[in-house]
């Protein structure tokens, strides 16, 4: 199997895969997203010849990413930060060159508060556009109802988190305005005293 076959198969899904990896790891660390992506790419490259149906490459590759991520989450923290074995060439720094907007970062913050499997299900559905059946295959669920239930809970929780963030932001804005007015009034009072 030539790597060109693999890269040809990867090309149409490359962008989505990188976005998925980054959103999956949320805002923990950019390097974690790169590690997950590198490990998933190496696994996919080594097992590409076992993929019997090339048309299912997308589901297969996202399944590898998801399982790699969930497996990493289960590992102890100190194992997660261990470097790769010597002899493994490091992947290009693909995430550093693309800046992220504040809105993007805020959304990642909200996603970070979801459970890993919930987050993965939501991203697979909303971001990568997989069907419920495909998500069931990727996440290894026995029934569709489990996927539906997980998606529903993820949406509700994300909605709740975002609403709370909004309330907090609004409250902060009101407090800030009041604080500013108080300072302004005090300053005017001091000026008036000074003039006299």
């Amino acid at each position: 199997m030539a790597s060109s076959d693999f890269t040809d198969a990867l090309a149409p899904h490359y962008n989505d895969a990188l976005r998925y990896c980054h959103a999956l790891t949320a805002r923990t660390a950019r390097i974690e997203a790169e590690d997950i992506l590198q490990e998933a790419l190496l696994k996919a490259l080594n097992h590409y010849d076992q993929l019997k149906t090339p048309s299912r490459f997308r589901v297969w590759f996202f399944q590898i990413i998801t399982r790699t991520y969930l497996s990493e989450r289960r590992k102890a923290y100190w194992k997660r930060i261990l470097p790769f074995a010597s002899g493994v060439m490091h992947m290009p720094d693909v995430y550093a060159s693309v800046p992220l907007s504040d809105v993007h970062l805020a959304l990642l913050d909200a996603l970070a508060q979801l459970a890993p499997r919930q987050r993965a299900a939501l991203l697979l559905f909303e971001l990568a556009g997989f069907s419920l059946e495909e998500i069931r295959l990727i996440q290894g669920d026995r029934s569709l109802s489990a996927v539906k239930s997980r998606l529903s809970r993820a949406r509700q929780k994300l909605k709740h988190i975002i609403q709370e963030d909004k309330n907090a932001a609004s409250k902060n804005t009101s407090l800030s305005r009041l604080h500013h007015e108080t300072i302004e009034t005090t300053r005017k009072a001091l000026d008036a005293l000074h003039d006299r």
Binding site: A2, S3, S4, F6, T7, L10, A11, Y14, N15, L18, R19, H22, A23, L41, L42, L45, N46, G87, V88, M89, M91, P92, V94, Y95, S97, V98, L100, S101, V103, H104, A106, L107, A110, L123, E126, L127, R155, L158, K159, I162, D165, K166
Partner: protein, 295 residues
Amino acid sequence: MKPSKPPEKPLTRSMTDDRDLLLKPLNEPDYQDSFDEMAIWLQRVQQAQHARSTQKPPLQPPAWVQTWRFKLLATCLLGLLIIGFIPIQEEDIVGYLIYWTAEGSPDAVKQEVAPLGLPIAQLVAAPHPEAPTNRFILLLPDATESNVEMWMNQLRSNNHFADVQQVTLQETINRPIYEAFFAQLPGSLSEGFLSKASVDRMRFRTLAALHVSAWLDTPDRTYHLAFGTRNDSLWFSVRPYGQVSTAQERLFDEVQRMDRALRQLQGDAPRVQQARALLESHLDSLETIVMTGGH
């Protein structure tokens, strides 16, 4: 002019109302520019893997050595090996002793016993203390139980012999579990399995299990020998006829040395070695004295 409505912040939208807008920021980054670089990296990785796979691997154990079945088997065998060498204490038969009483001279009895296949070279004759008969003692260190049983039956079937008895000489010994296991296997495996050294050791233990006393009756110039088991459960006294000649007296000295050696067998290892050497060098002397019956 209608004021333009400020764009609503995507995060404030309801997910159920407009999911695409909510998650749209996640789809904004474009990483496509890095794909060529990534493709080159993948190609290098595969080339490196190919190079590693074609290289002759360094000395490594075969794959089957690393399987869990092999590891389990090796662990079990190692465990058995360790357990097999744990010493255990058990009662071991180190030989047999047959004795009977009969009238007539020792030579006549020997001639009568010879056709039975008994090792008459080890036959000891002693006068019975309370009867006009002789007591005959036969020490059988290498005999098997079946042989002893057969000889007992043959001796009992002879009308000239009376009070035919058998004594099993036992000793508490320490030996590894594996040896105890093989020793208890049926048939002749014990003889086949045990080396000649083991058989020799058995013979040695038989002699060591016996307690030998010898003393010289100075006024009569007669000597006495007595054999007994170590726990003194059975004693045989041998009092040969006649006076001791000078040559026999020298032999008797040899017997006494052997007696001392046998007594030292219970000491520590160097002494046991010394006693064994003495025993081996003077065993012939003892047999000569016993077999000649003092004549």
